[in-house]
């Protein structure tokens, strides 16, 4: 039987209370959202916090809403909430799809989007899908609130720019323009129930038969999810045909730094990354052309 180290549990109801507790415990405290990653780290003795500060009673930290062109995902919205959210499914189906493929139903019902991002595991699906949509996170600390673009949040394996007492309260996703098409492709080298070997999310806007805007993100290929800006530049003003996709794929690979794990070697991961990037771009682009063909509003 593995032993969960002893800890004190606090369930503050205000942010002031939360930050006071965080001040008191300093580095001995951890914020508790869904706990799916934290409890595993504690069970394997990698973390032994003296106190867990649960976030679930704080005001305004849950829920999924839309206001003035933005989707606001409360930090404590679970993966399952997000996968099923009618708002997400309508405005950002690729994002809903990404949440639907996280882990297993048990994890999806416990794990939260805020916890997922703060944990900063580069193998996760949601950060990749969110970066492609231009999401930002709202972080609240004792001195107030700030917005951090998601592609600037991560700094390394399990590391973010969040200050010690800052807590993620929400994720803001601009509602994609009606002519933007998105795709999320997760490649699994072993079982359907696994972390991705590589995952790619893309958002494209078309104009005059060419890519007018592009945002491309790749996961599992380095210490953080990668926003592939160079590759985006190579797409804009172009038709994403096979030749262009090869150029884009090569540009993505130069930005990666994969490691050996049980899903594959670095060489293998580099080899298949352009394949998955091309599939994601094609899938999004097919959405663009299908929409035009079907006469749907563009």
């Amino acid at each position: 039987v593995s032993v969960l180290p002893r800890f004190e549990l606090h369930e503050p109801e205000t942010f002031d209370e939360l930050f006071a507790l965080a001040w008191r415990y300093g580095e001995d405290a951890r914020y508790l959202a869904g706990g799916t990653a934290l409890v595993l780290l504690m069970r394997s003795q990698l973390l032994q916090p003296a106190a867990l500060l649960a976030l679930h009673r704080l005001p305004g930290i849950g829920g999924i809403t839309r206001d003035s062109g933005r989707l606001r995902l409360g930090a404590l919205a679970t993966h399952d909430d997000l996968a099923r959210s009618p708002l997400l499914r309508q405005h950002a189906p690729a994002l809903a799809e990404a949440f639907r493929h996280v882990a297993t139903p048990r994890i999806r019902h416990m794990g939260t989007v805020g916890g997922n991002l703060a944990h900063a595991d580069p193998h996760q699906d949601p950060p990749v899908a969110l970066i492609a949509l231009g999401a930002a996170v709202v972080a609240r600390g004792p001195k107030g609130e700030r917005r951090i673009p998601l592609d600037e949040l991560f700094t390394g394996y399990y590391e973010t720019v969040l200050a010690p007492r800052e807590v993620l309260t929400a994720v803001e996703v601009p509602v994609p323009a009606p002519d933007v098409r998105t795709a999320f492709v997760k490649f699994l080298s072993r079982s359907a129930d696994d972390y991705a070997t590589v995952n790619v999310a893309v958002a494209l806007r078309e104009s005059g038969g060419q890519v007018a805007e592009a945002r491309l993100a790749v996961g599992c290929m380095g210490p953080t999810p990668i926003r592939a800006r160079d590759a985006e530049t190579l797409l804009v003003g172009q038709v994403p045909d096979d030749a262009r996709l090869r150029v884009v794929g090569e540009a993505v690979v130069t930005m990666t730094d994969p490691v050996l794990d049980s899903r594959g070697s670095p060489d293998y991961k580099r080899r298949i990354t352009p394949v998955i990037v091309a599939r994601a771009i094609r899938q999004a682009w097919d959405g663009v052309s299908r929409a035009r063909r079907d006469g749907a509003p563009t």
């Binding site: 394997s44 490649f187 079982s191 972390y195 298949i272």
Partner: protein
């Protein structure tokens, strides 16, 4: 709807599992659910080094910790090496450690937390020794010596029947390729665990082992006591698949802690401990040479196997022996040679896993067969049909085959997958594969004995209790035995129950292994039920005033044939039989030993009383850009005689297929420099249900005359040929062969690259 063979009422029916309701309601009590007053929690300190001399162990700080009741090291143990086939391991390390995860010291403390703290306070100084992690490197000159044996070889044999070199020289086509499997872990839902009590010179253990009496023999040896001083009771067991057949030290250490602490001690592995200190399927490197004549007749076969034993000999010597020889039960070729080495390495010791040596052997040999077919330009289905054995055959190693519908299995499995049409309309990166297997129904492995005995009692209410020590690890054995008893006796299935397996109250048996319980224990149960039936009829003949031959038992009632109103219940008969002067309960024994033969050094003789057969056909698709293999469709046709319980039989085969797909595509313990790097379900991937293809199952009509109601063994065979069948299908899809398991997308892509560099196209 009745699915029973003609004339049968209970055998052939999908009655609910005897243990089903308890398990789904949470009533079933597993080791970790058990608790005794004053019980302590055990915890083990394991070696961080693959090979090291123990210089010093300081346990003083751990001993001084309040709440710690016992601290043990190798010095506190009897230092008697133990093991089923090659006694070479100690309960706790003596002198040196030989793999990462070896048990060095153990603690019993008042709770988990104290035990964990105390383990952390034990100080061990090691002097690292050179280590070796490959079985052939271990056998090479100058390799580090792991045990006091020459070239680290734990076991070796070489068997030749006929002149193999002459046959291969005469062959039109000769295959010569080398394959290797992998360390596959059993993945039971419940980890290995034990609760032990030591009182008045006697150990009592609730241990989740699959063979209580074999475990008792080993425990007595390791504890240096008489078997009568050890009692083992089997709680509900959450799956074993061979991994709970007592090759590891868990129960021994638990017993030693209970004796040292003079308190009950519970020691349950964490999942990680189960991974690093378990006994996975050994990996075996197999060079297979196989010769055919132009018409597809196999005329000679030569295999050389080098098995990786790991640091100690669990059941790898026996499993590797099966990998070396069993395959020769499948084909008509009599000219065979097998040479086997089992070599020590500084890795986790290995043991029994569903299929035993067969999945390892089939992976190599059934692929070699397929390569032969390709070289000959012949359809593997036709070549398999041409070479397949039939009833009455004696294999080159002396296996006497009774019932055998192997050829029908080949026809049905391939038909169900659309084999002939699929081959005719071959598409790129789309492949079909076929593989066969033969499995035993029990094996004469332990002295000259391959039998089973039961006690069967008919209570005064007519309910029947079977006392059998064979036990239940989740495979459905007690359900099948109850069905056989109910059928033979003429009572409803619901009237038959089992006594919990216990070395002190159920008779000595060998326990679950080698797919033996339906066949061997089933025969013993049937015999006991027949005896009870005869006794009931004799007694009833007095009460009903009719000749026993004119009586029958139906649905729990004894009646005069043709006069159903002249009847009494079995309970009434048992009651009147008992409650009279000179009366007695109806208690009978049933005992049966199979007609198998034990092997001497020549490895000749019929190892089992009956053989089951199967053919698996599979359709795969390969993504040429990523190398990912998708299994599209799977068909298995099995000859295991009469099916006692169709739903249980189907689920056994489904489980075997899933573990087989894991063996083929996703699993494998990864050991780097001696460290297991994937001891969890996030990194060690078993297939999930979304990975499982549509499955077509066929049980071909078959009747085994020596089996109970015609039944043979079925628990393992569905796992045996899966990897080989998928390997053959992948080769068909990509035009190149994968030689090592698992078949990862990375290996497939590399194979496609190599083929393209050679300028070949699909």
């Amino acid at each position: 709807m009745s699915t029973s063979p003609a004339g049968l009422r209970v055998v052939g029916q999908s009655v609910p599992r005897a243990d089903g309701a308890d398990k789904v309601t949470g009533r079933a009590r597993y080791v970790d659910d058990l608790s005794l007053p004053g019980m302590l929690i055990g915890k083990v300190l394991r070696s961080p080094y693959p090979h090291a001399r123990i210089v010093r162990i300081d346990t003083s700080a751990a001993r001084a910790l309040p709440g710690v009741h016992a601290v043990l090291t190798g010095e506190d143990t009897p230092k008697v090496p133990w093991g089923f086939f090659v006694p070479d391991q100690y309960p706790l390390s003596v002198g040196k450690v030989r793999y990462v995860g070896e048990e060095v010291a153990a603690i019993a403390a008042r709770d988990d937390e104290t035990a964990a703290r105390a383990v952390g306070m034990i100080e061990v100084s090691y002097e690292e020794l050179p280590a070796v992690f490959d079985q052939e490197e271990a056998m090479a000159e100058g390799a580090p010596s792991i045990h006091d044996v020459t070239n680290n070889v734990a076991m070796h044999f070489k068997i030749e029947r006929g002149d193999v070199e002459a046959a291969l020289a005469a062959a039109d086509v000769v295959v010569d390729e080398t394959f290797e499997g992998m360390l596959q872990w059993q993945t039971p839902m419940e980890p290995t665990g034990c609760l032990a009590v030591y009182e008045a010179g006697k150990f009592t253990l609730w241990a989740n082992v699959s063979g209580l009496f074999r475990a008792r023999m080993q425990l007595a040896r390791a504890l240096a006591v008489d078997p009568g001083q050890v009692r083992i009771i089997q709680p509900a067991v959450g799956g074993g698949f061979g991994g709970k057949s007592m090759d590891d030290n868990n129960a021994v250490i638990c017993a030693l802690l209970a004796r040292a602490a003079r308190r009950p001690v519970k020691l349950v592995n964490t999942r990680e401990e189960d991974f690093i200190g378990g006994r996975p399927r050994p990996t075996i490197r197999i060079r297979a040479r196989m010769g055919f004549t132009r018409d597809g007749t196999m005329i000679g076969k030569d295999i050389r196997l080098v098995a990786d034993n790991g640091a100690y000999s669990g059941k790898a010597p026996a499993a590797a022996g099966v990998a070396a020889l069993r395959h020769d039960t499948l084909y008509l070729n009599d000219t065979v040679r097998s040479e086997l080495y089992v070599a020590y390495t500084n890795k986790v010791p290995t043991g029994a896993f569903r299929g035993f040596g067969n999945p390892s052997g089939e992976w190599a040999v059934e692929q070699a067969f397929d390569i032969g077919c390709a070289k000959l330009g012949l359809d593997p289905r036709e070549v398999a049909l041409k070479n397949a054995v039939g009833p009455g055959r004696v294999s080159p190693h002396g296996n006497r085959i009774g019932s055998c519908e192997l050829r029908e299995c080949i026809r049905r499995a391939t038909d169900r997958i659309g084999w002939t049409e699929g081959r005719a309309a071959k598409r790129p990166y789309h492949g079909l594969g076929l593989a066969l297997s033969a499995h035993v129904s029990g094996k004469r492995h332990f002295y000259d004995y391959d039998g089973s005995s039961v006690i069967l009692q008919v209570n005064q209410d007519g309910r029947v209790v079977i006392l059998s020590g064979e036990g239940e690890v989740g495979q459905g054995a007690t359900t099948v035995m109850a069905q056989i008893a109910a059928e033979e006796l003429g009572v409803p299935y619901e009237h038959v129950s089992h006594m919990q397996a216990d070395t002190e109250s159920t008779p000595f048996v060998l326990g679950a292994f080698a797919s033996r319980l339906t066949y061997v224990a089933g025969n013993a149960v049937r015999q006991a039920a027949a005896k009870a039936r005869a006794e009931i009829l004799l007694s009833a003949s007095e009460f009903l005033e009719a000749h026993p031959a004119d009586l029958e038992i139906q649905d729990g009632r004894v009646q005069v044939k043709g006069v159903p109103q002249r009847a009494m219940t079995v309970g009434e008969v048992a009651s009147r039989h008992n409650f009279r002067k000179g009366g007695q309960p109806i208690v009978v024994t049933g005992t049966w030993d199979s007609d198998s033969e034990s092997h001497g050094t020549d490895r000749y003789g019929s190892e089992s009383g009956a053989f089951s057969f199967c053919a698996h056909a599979v359709e795969v698709q390969v993504d040429p850009d990523t190398g990912k293999v998708t299994v599209l469709n799977y068909a298995m046709a099995t000859d295991c005689g009469t099916i006692v319980n169709p739903v249980l039989a189907e689920s056994q085969e489904e489980g075997g297929l899933i573990q087989g797909i894991g063996y083929a595509l996703t699993e494998g313990l990864l050991i780097q420099d001696g460290q297991l790097v994937n001891p969890n379900f996030s990194d060690y991937k078993i297939p999930c249900i979304a990975d499982i293809p549509p499955l077509h199952q066929e049980f071909v009509p078959s009747y085994e005359p020596t089996g109970p109601f015609g039944a043979k063994g079925l628990g393992e065979i569905s796992m045996d040929p899966v990897a080989a069948a998928i390997g053959n299908a992948v080769a068909d899809a990509i035009g190149a062969r994968i030689h090592t398991l698992p078949i990862t997308p990375e290996k497939v892509l590399a194979a496609i690259d190599r083929r393209e560099r050679r300028g070949e196209r699909r």
